[in-house]
């Protein structure tokens, strides 16, 4: 895009923002509103609605110095602090529904302030498991991803990308996008439970049946989307990696995904459109998450994030 249109001089040019910056967080001064994604604690005793999945135990987010026992403090790409998403040390097999605590999410709750059009997520991040055992733990990270939860005047939809890294210890290293399979019912989406609140297409991070080859009801593989990322040679060496996802909220379509220097064209692909939910018109929530593949904590370190729009 035309660099002359960029109005913000505080965003480093390792980002490629659209003209209007909704958020730039480098986590040097706090979490910037990124917090754990939790259910609504609106029931008796401030408990969450009954669900087939316990969503109250997703791992914590925190400011991190990325410190390791034999390497010391990595710090961040810029400064000392990054935002860390940490799972608990628990996982089900891939083809089962996610174990409580096997994921960690960070969400920033925003709303639209511009006409519909291009919206973009960018981050510099690194990923690794907890160095609690010897060897190289790359295969213990199941997946990570980033998406927008959007609601406009007609529809709610999840639009985003997931890097499927490992399935039951078998490295896949393949990008997927959020898009639910046609023909999946709301009940199948919720692992067969009748009366689950969510609709097909909503919350694909944990809903939608999973299959041993890495497919789920909620994700589609990106054509040619295999990619080897810079994991490094041991679990206490982390490299900062660039991710960009651009979507079009006017057309309700994907535009493209950039991971490192690779760009995947996603034009013409639609997310799954769902009838609007109450009280969230204009919602524009970026969400980042990480998933563990085994009984081991895995971490996603986010050095910085930019959310921008045209």
């Amino acid at each position: 895009m035309n660099a002359g249109l960029r109005p913000s001089h505080c965003v480093p040019n390792r980002f490629q923002p659209l003209p209007f910056i909704l958020a730039y967080d480098d986590f040097s001064g706090g979490t910037g509103g990124w917090l754990e994604l939790m259910p609504n604690f609106t029931k008796e005793g401030f408990k969450a609605r009954e669900s087939i999945l316990d969503k109250t135990r997703w791992g914590p987010t925190m400011l991190s110095t990325a410190s390791f026992g034999y390497m010391g403090t990595h710090g961040a790409m810029s400064g000392i602090y990054s935002l860390k998403l940490a799972t608990r040390p628990v996982a089900n097999r891939y083809e089962e529904m996610p174990a409580p605590g096997s994921m960690a999410h960070a969400i920033k709750r925003l709303s639209v302030f511009r006409p519909k059009g291009l919206v973009q997520f960018e981050m510099w991040y690194a990923y690794t498991p907890e160095q609690d055992r010897i060897g190289v733990g790359e295969k213990d990270i199941r997946a990570f991803g980033a998406s927008f939860d959007v609601q406009d005047d007609s529809y709610r939809y999840f639009i985003g990308a997931r890097f499927l890294n490992s399935v039951n210890g078998d490295l896949k290293r393949q990008w997927q996008i959020l898009k639910a399979d046609e023909g999946v019912t709301d009940q199948q989406w919720a692992y067969g439970r009748q009366g689950e609140w969510n609709k097909r297409g909503v919350d694909p991070m944990w809903y939608g049946r999973r299959y041993p080859d890495g497919r789920t009801d909620g994700y589609q593989f990106v054509s040619g989307g295999q990619q080897r990322l810079c994991y490094n040679e041991s679990d206490d060496k982390i490299n900062w990696i660039y991710l960009r996802l651009t979507v079009d909220t006017a057309r309700r379509e994907y535009v493209d995904l950039q991971s490192g220097a690779a760009v995947f064209d996603l034009r013409g692909i639609s997310p799954t459109l769902v009838q609007p939910y109450a009280r969230i018109e204009g919602l524009l929530n970026p969400v980042i998450w990480v998933e563990t593949d085994t009984d081991r904590r895995v971490f996603l370190f986010v050095d910085s994030v930019v959310i921008s729009c045209e």
Binding site: T31, P60, L63, S67
Partner: protein, 111 residues
């Protein structure tokens, strides 16, 4: 302005036997409070013991020296700590026959 964070380490969690909260990074903070809200108890003479632990790497833990008084009933309890380095967690145990505590645990950090 001072820097401040409340982390919710457990939400209505049911604890029995030995437990430890998830490791939490605290390098930016110089003072902390752990809160335990004991919401429900079960079993015969249930007793919750919890102590603060610190760590150099988030993996190996040592007792910091601060501990909650033994908790036997529902209610809200806290401890204060400072000079704790880069990591904090609570470790503890539930005693009593079939002892169980449902708890919400907060870590409150300030710099």
């Amino acid at each position: 302005m001072r820097h401040f964070t409340t982390a919710v380490l457990e939400r209505h969690a049911s604890l029995a036997g030995d437990f430890a909260t998830e490791p939490y990074e605290t390098p930016w903070a110089s003072e902390a409070l752990f809160f335990i809200r004991a919401e429900e108890t079960a079993g015969e003479n249930p007793l919750l013991r919890a102590r603060v632990q610190i760590s150099a790497d988030g993996i190996h833990w040592v007792d910091e020296g601060t501990a909650f008084p033994p908790i036997t009933t529902t209610g809200d309890y806290f401890v204060r700590i400072s000079h704790f380095g880069g990591w904090l967690r609570l470790a503890g145990t539930i005693q009593g026959e079939e002892g169980r505590f449902d708890v919400t645990i907060h870590l409150v950090l300030k710099e």
